[in-house]
């Protein structure tokens, strides 16, 4: 399983801290972790079968990833959720596993909502009948509270989201992630391994500082054998609302998302321009369906939808 099984300070023949042998093998003699490994609970995680059971009613699971922060993962996740759920026969779930910086409630116009506990588990917050949302943002008594959690606690919550939430039958589950390649990313891929993830949509912006982090994210996907559905380039240029003149704000000095997709041999799904109206939809919930007015941008979202479907 994990890429990361063997701690850095462990000797070469470390059997892996979650194995039966952990802390007891001959290699463990003198390892600084011996005590912890010998006493930690072993064997398969009891949560996994429960997760598998729950996830059996979810047809497609899609991760939205990016090594870089602020490139538009959460915005894209919510747009995709709205786009899918435009068809009332499609059931969609959005799960936000950004535990320290949850943006989904605000972006989807659900500020101040709370989750409810029922017999069958936590029920998600519904934007409409066929679009349910789960986020730690719905569990804070004060929205400004900092969630000062280290890895294990974040992982615990992610497991709960997967096994204790009553998602019902879903066609699509879209999972929004924090930037990076750490606890959350490892946990979600490990927990969903048996149930199967369709793949990841990778979001980038055009400039090299972002592309660099995204290359690392792609490296991560390969290490954990997570298929890549494609790359979306967000914030690709800007059309002035006044003079309609175009300008480049984040210059694609190394070729941007398109070149990255070519280099990495993964599909390029399209680019989305910078649009100042995007922030507005978080303020007026009736504008939640931000379907871009230009036919090209609209095509981006819908084109995506069809290419994922088959």
């Amino acid at each position: 399983m994990a890429v990361n099984e063997k701690p850095e300070n462990a000797p070469e023949h470390c059997p892996g801290p979650s194995t039966e042998q952990a802390g007891k093998a001959s290699a463990c003699q003198g390892c600084p972790n011996q005590n912890i490994c010998a006493t930690a609970p072993k064997g398969p995680d009891p949560a996994l079968p429960l997760i598998k059971e729950r996830m059996s009613s979810v047809k497609h699971k899609i991760l939205i990833l990016s090594g870089k922060g602020g490139v538009g993962k959460s915005t894209f996740t919510s747009q995709l959720g709205f786009a899918f759920s435009n068809d009332e026969n499609i059931q969609v779930g959005v799960m936000d596993i950004d535990v320290c910086g949850p943006s989904i409630p605000k972006i989807m116009g659900l500020d101040g909502e709370q989750i409810h506990q029922s017999l069958s588990g936590w029920s998600p917050v519904y934007v409409q009948d066929n679009l349910g949302v789960m986020s730690i943002g719905f569990m804070l008594s004060n929205p400004d509270d900092a969630v000062i959690w280290r890895g294990p606690k974040k992982n615990g919550l992610i497991k709960q989201f997967l096994k204790d939430v009553d998602w019902g039958d879903l066609d699509y589950m879209l999972i929004d992630t924090p930037p990076g390649t750490s606890d959350e990313h490892l946990s979600i891929t490990q927990c969903l391994k048996e149930s199967g993830i369709d793949g990841a949509i990778i979001i980038t912006t055009p400039q090299e500082v972002a592309i660099q982090d995204v290359r690392r994210e792609i490296d991560f996907c390969r290490k954990v054998k997570l298929p890549i559905l494609g790359i979306v380039e967000n914030m690709s240029g800007f059309v002035c609302p006044n003079c309609k003149g175009e300008s480049i704000i984040f210059a694609p000095t190394t070729g941007g998302g398109k070149k990255l997709a070519e280099d990495e041999k993964v599909p390029f799904l399209g680019s989305i321009p910078l649009d100042p109206r995007i922030d507005k939809l978080t303020k007026s919930p009736q504008d939640k369906y931000f379907l871009p007015s230009s036919p090209e941008s609209l095509h981006n979202f819908l084109g995506l939808q069809t290419s994922i479907k088959h």
Binding site: D183, G245, S247
Partner: protein, 275 residues
């Protein structure tokens, strides 16, 4: 560890941590600009990049592909300028390839941060600026804990004006309060964009939210930094394989408009930590 760490870092006069709850708001860019302005003002500056899974500092300083050297006394940081007034340490300098992902859970990240603090020989520095990843998790808890006993000067909080960013940054302010890290002030980055064709200023990411938030929390508002595409361009030029001294980042930066804006912010920060 406290005692030894205090002795080890004794040559550093001021420690500033750059934080934001939100990703991509410009923490690494602000760290870089603050460092450049301080160096230009005659200081010796070090940058410590504790964003372990998304290190940006090597690229921002035009140092992609550089390696740290191991000396008998520890790791020698990488210098970014001719005159050796700006040095930095990042996990980026420890990777085989810049495309390698660092897939680490918390404990390993914490151990690395500790090692950065205890094993890098910074020597005498006027300022050490610490760039962080977004959030309020392992890296943040660890750096605050490790530095607790040596009283860092405080945190500079970066936000952009959008409501989505502000919501996360409010959490970061509360984090600072919880861990008793003083807040030096708030910077609103990417505040307004002037169209190069018609001079119309578009608030691409709306505007003003950072100042209002600073007021509400009773912390200083340090200023606004506009969106300026030349920043990305300068960074790329300084990374160019054929980069010459002409293209040294600090030179290009001090000739840019951003420098004028940011220098004022730097002055405020300097005034805060030196009085």
């Amino acid at each position: 560890m406290a005692d030894t760490l205090a002795t080890h870092l004794a040559g550093i006069k001021h420690i500033i941590i750059v934080l934001s709850g939100k990703g991509g708001v410009g923490k690494s860019s602000i760290t870089t600009q603050l460092a450049l302005c301080l160096v230009q003002g005659g200081n010796k500056v070090g940058i410590l990049d504790i964003d372990l899974t998304g290190p940006s500092i090597p690229h921002m300083l035009g140092l992609d592909g550089k390696q740290v050297h191991q000396a008998s006394s520890g790791w020698v940081p990488v210098f970014a300028d001719e005159n050796q007034n700006l040095c930095c340490m990042s996990i980026g300098f420890l990777l085989q390839s810049k495309n390698d992902s660092v897939v680490w859970r918390g404990p390993k990240k914490n151990a690395m941060i500790k090692q950065f603090l205890t094993d890098v020989c910074w020597g005498e520095l006027d300022y050490l600026i610490i760039d962080t990843p977004p959030g309020t998790s392992d890296e943040h808890i660890s750096i605050a804990e490790y530095l607790k006993d040596i009283n860092p000067d405080g945190a500079v909080i970066v936000t952009t004006p959008q409501s989505v960013a502000l919501a996360d940054v409010r959490k970061e302010l509360n984090f600072c309060k919880k861990v008793k890290l003083p807040i030096l002030g708030v910077i609103e980055n990417m505040s307004g964009y002037v169209c190069p064709h018609c001079e119309e200023c578009t608030n691409l990411f709306s505007t003003g939210g950072g100042e209002a938030m600073a007021q509400e929390f009773g912390v200083e508002f340090l200023g606004r930094v506009p969106i300026d595409p030349s920043l990305t361009i300068m960074i790329e030029k300084s990374n160019d394989d054929n980069a010459t001294l002409e293209n040294e980042l600090i030179k290009m930066y001090t000739e840019s408009n951003l420098y004028k804006v940011f220098n004022k912010i730097t002055d405020k920060i300097v005034a805060k930590v030196t009085t």
